[in-house]
Every structure is written in structure tokens, then in C-alpha cells.
């Protein structure tokens, strides 16, 4: 069984369902719109901010503020790509056609990841430029130190969020269960754990907390995070790999 055949098949699958279009569109629109809104608001409030806040002001990171909501749509995309197979019963037809489960799973993940990467990068660049336009005189330039890395990183972040969700959905199979765990986790729990001082030391190793470091250009004052932008991204990548490995092992041994 040639992997190229299966990849072509998975591309047909992903482009022929409506959920792909609406989840990705939502991720793009929400990330950009919210990013612009918060950039515009922050730009206006700049003069009222404290001295410390002004010193550590990170116009690049501010323009990505919409990602906190936009990533939820990416999660839905990642979950549905995988769990659609289970909720519809298609999985049995799919595995009868491609009994090599590793080939099946990783072709599916590869196609969805590629699509998420293209959409993520495009979103990240558009978000950056529109966000900076809203910030007016406080804006950053794409040529500034670390900015290009942060913008590309924004696209990679969105991609990995989707990949992590695919792994979790492969393990859990049910779309409702997967979303019921991932959405509150990334929207609430992770933020709480990462910002409350008691849990901060653990919370910052969670996938989104570590991964979002790559979108930072200016390090906040008193920041004692033990990893840099790529270190944080690496931690997030490890989470994604672990979720995929778990999904693969379960798929391999489970009855379809």
C-alpha cells in the first residue's frame, strides 16, 4: 500500500466535508478580528499604562491576542478530522480499504497538518500586519529582531494545537468527549494553571502555555521562564507527539 495513494485519499476526504471549511474559516476570522480589536484597544490605552507595562510592551504578541479564541476553532478542526471517522462509522470502511493502521492514521494527520499549517501561517501573517496597523505609532516591524520568528511561530502554534487535538481525538474517538475535554482545558484551565503563582511552575509546561512563548518578542519583566521561544515550542511539539503516539498505539490494538 503506497502512502501516496492514502494521502491522496485523505485529501479527498478532508476537502469534501463542510466541517473543514467552517472550522478553518472560523479560526481565521476570529483570530484576525479579535487580534485587530485588542490591538486597536491597546494602542489607544498605551499612554495610560504603567511604566513597567510600557517597557515590556510587545506589539507583536498583542496582535496575536485573538489566538486564545481562534485556537478553539483549530481544536474543533483537529478533533473533527479524526473523530468524524468514528461518529459516522466511516472508520470501518476506511480501515477495510487501508488495513495498515499506521499508514492510515499518519496519512490523515499529515494531510490535516499540512492544511492547518498553510491556514495557520496565512492567518498569522495577516493578523500581524492588520494588528500592527491598528497599533499605530506603537507598532513593530516585520524586520525587527525576533518578529519574523514570532509571526512564523504563530502559524506553527496554530498547527500544533490542531495536531495535539488530532492525537487526543484518536485516543478518545468521540467528538463530544474530545471537545468537552480540550475546549475548557485550553480556554480556562490551562490559563488558570499558568497564571496562578502556586501552579505556575507546572502550568507553564502545558502545551499552549509553553508553545505561545514563540509568539513573544519582548520578554516580560520578572520573567523566569526556564525555556526560550524554541524551547517552549519544543515542549509543545513533545505534547503533540505524545498525543499522536498514544492515539497510534490505541488505534493499532483496538477493534475498529
Amino acid at each position: 500500500m503506497a502512502a501516496t495513494q492514502v494521502i491522496r485519499s485523505e485529501w479527498t476526504k478532508i476537502r469534501s466535508v463542510a466541517s473543514t471549511v467552517w472550522t478553518l474559516s472560523l479560526a481565521v476570522v476570529v483570530t484576525i478580528a479579535l487580534g485587530m480589536l485588542i490591538s486597536a484597544f491597546t494602542g489607544n490605552e498605551f499612554d495610560n499604562m504603567s511604566r513597567d507595562d510600557r517597557l515590556s510592551f510587545d506589539p507583536t504578541f498583542i496582535s496575536f491576542a485573538g489566538m486564545s479564541l481562534g485556537q478553539l476553532a483549530m481544536i474543533v478542526f483537529g478533533v473533527l478530522v479524526v473523530s468524524n471517522e468514528y461518529s459516522t462509522g466511516m472508520i470501518r470502511t476506511s480501515l477495510a480499504a487501508v488495513p495498515q493502521r499506521g499508514t492510515f492514521l499518519f496519512s490523515k494527520i499529515a494531510v490535516a497538518t499540512g492544511l492547518a499549517l498553510v491556514v495557520g501561517l496565512a492567518t498569522s501573517f495577516v493578523t500581524f500586519f492588520l494588528g500592527q496597523a491598528m497599533l499605530g505609532s506603537h507598532r513593530a516591524s516585520i524586520g525587527d529582531d525576533g518578529v519574523l520568528r514570532a509571526v512564523i511561530g504563530g502559524g506553527l502554534y496554530m498547527t500544533l494545537i490542531a495536531v495535539f487535538s488530532m492525537g487526543v481525538a484518536t485516543m478518545l474517538r468521540s467528538p463530544m468527549l474530545s471537545l468537552g475535554i480540550l475546549m475548557p482545558f485550553f480556554f480556562l484551565i490551562s490559563n488558570i494553571l499558568g497564571n496562578v503563582s502556586a501552579t505556575k511552575k507546572i502550568g507553564r509546561y502545558l502545551p499552549d502555555q509553553a508553545g505561545s512563548k514563540i509568539m513573544q518578542v519582548v520578554t516580560p519583566i520578572d520573567d523566569d521562564t526556564p525555556y526560550g521561544p524554541w524551547g517552549g515550542f519544543g515542549i509543545m511539539a513533545l505534547w503533540a507527539v505524545a498525543a499522536l503516539a498514544g492515539g497510534y498505539l490505541l488505534l493499532k490494538k483496538r477493534d475498529a
Binding site: R8, S16, S19, R92, A97, P99
Partner: protein, 329 residues
Amino acid sequence: MIELSGLTKRYGEKVAVNNLTFTVRPGIVTGFLGPNGAGKSTTMRMMLGLDRPTAGDVRIDGQHYDRLKDPLKYIGALLDAKAMHGGRSAFNHLLCLAQSNGIPRSRVHEVLDTVGLTSVARKKAKGFSLGMGQRLGIAGALLGDPRILMFDEPVNGLDPEGIHWIRNLMKSLAAQGRTVFVSSHLMSEMALTADHLVVIGQGRLLADTSMADFIAQNSRSHVRIRTPQRERLLDVLHGAGILVVETGGGVLEVDGGKSEHIGELAAQHQIVLHELSPQRASLEEAFMQLTAESVEYHAHADTPAPAPAGELGRFEQPAPQWGDDWTRS
């Protein structure tokens, strides 16, 4: 050719499939018969490598399923007509299956035409009726032009025209020399389509026989006679060496006897007959008796019980459709 050897599937304590060994041969339709819950679908899923056997082995043309290169070209299966994404069009559903096995796009159009879905090819599958869904599933099975075809309860829920179509399709596929394996819980359905019969109950193999043999062995035929001159007839038949059983109500039964012969004897001796009728036990009854002990979900007492074994072959009343008298409890 599909070969099962010692195939077993256990879910915890419960044995769903118990040491099944049989071979499905090419060129004929093999019926896979058993009551609901007998393990038919589990067996078929194991044949396709979807479920892992606890013990034993299935080989498709001598190979394990997951060793087949482009398996849709070896074996096409319809397990569940609803095993597809409802939001995808019929064409795209078949296209993604075709692509995964290196089957050309033109073949998708061909099979859509074969099953008569060309006009709705671009419509989403969730809008399809049960019959259309079944046809789409069959199109998927035919996609790779496989030598082996497998259908799990293909006529379930279909209208008479759809049932007729599927029967003819299966027969023509077998006539082309293909291996056709079809499951059902209705003996009457199998009697019309299958050449060979594999019967299971509670996961165990109960019969593996040709349909002709099954009919010959299991449908005991006898002649039913009523006469006002009972004693004379008994003497005459006895004199001719014919064994007669009295079954009460003035009815006599001759096992395996020829009604012509008995009629001629009666005429010779001028005995009046009120009834002389050849009887055949239905296959449905034979199947019911075969699986009686293995039916998992028995009916409750408010429905008439199936005829006890000893009365098989007598039918004053028409036999109920198998399965009418019990429900999943």
C-alpha cells in the same frame, strides 16, 4: 477463497465467536446464517481485519488481510450501509476509497452506474434512503472489481425491488466465478440465493453444507392421510410394508412415502380417502430447530413458542416467519 481456522473472539467472559473453521469457496453464493447475536458480524469484521481474533486465523486467498496490497482489489465488503460520512457526496465517498487503493477515477463512474446512483452522485449521502445507502455501500464493495465479495445482511430494510436487485446481483457475481459470502438471519432469504450454507449459533459452527443437502436432510417430507376406513387402510399399508404413524384426530402420516403409490393402493382396495396430501417441513422450521438451543434472545411467554422438536414436520398452521415470535429482550 476465504479460509477460517479456529477463529475465536472473546469479549471478557462472553464468547462471541467460538472456534469457527470453514472455507468459503469461489463460484458460488455461500450463505452465512444464524440468529441475531450469533456472531455473524463479528466474524465478518475479523475477516476484514477490523476486529482482532482472540485465537485462530483468517486468510484471504492464502494471505492475512493486512498483508494484502490494495485490499479492495481482492475483497469488497458491505458491512453496514451507514458506515460512511453523511456530509460527503456519493462520488467523493467512492473516490476517496478508490484513491486509497490506486483504483482509477473512471471506475467510480462505472460502479455508480452499476448500482444506479449516477443521477445522485453529487448529492450528500445523508439524504439517501436506506436502499440508496445500501446501493452506495455495494458500489464501494464492487469498486476494486474484487474476486471476493462479502455482504452483511444486505437485504435488511429494503423494499421488494431492492431485494430482488441484490439477489440477482449476488447470483451474477457468483456466476462470474467470484466468491460471494452473504449473511442473513432469514432462512427463506438464503434458500433463494445461496448454494452453500454455513450456519452458526452462539458463535459455534452448526452446519457447513450445500443448500441441496441441507434441504434434503432437514425438510422431512411425509404424506398426510385422512380416511373414514382407517382400519382397512392401515391393513393395506401394512401389507405393502409401508410404515404409518397415527397422529391423532384421525390423521395418519407416512414418512417419506409417495402419495401416488398410496393413492393407487387405496383405489385398488376401494378405500375412501378424505385427504391425501404430501407435506414438506419448511426450511425455516428446520433452521429454527437447528438453532433452537443457541438463540440468545428468547421471546417472552405472551407469544406462541416455536414448535417443539418432536412436532417438526406437522403443520396444521402455517409456520411463523422465523424471528416473528421472539424479540431482543
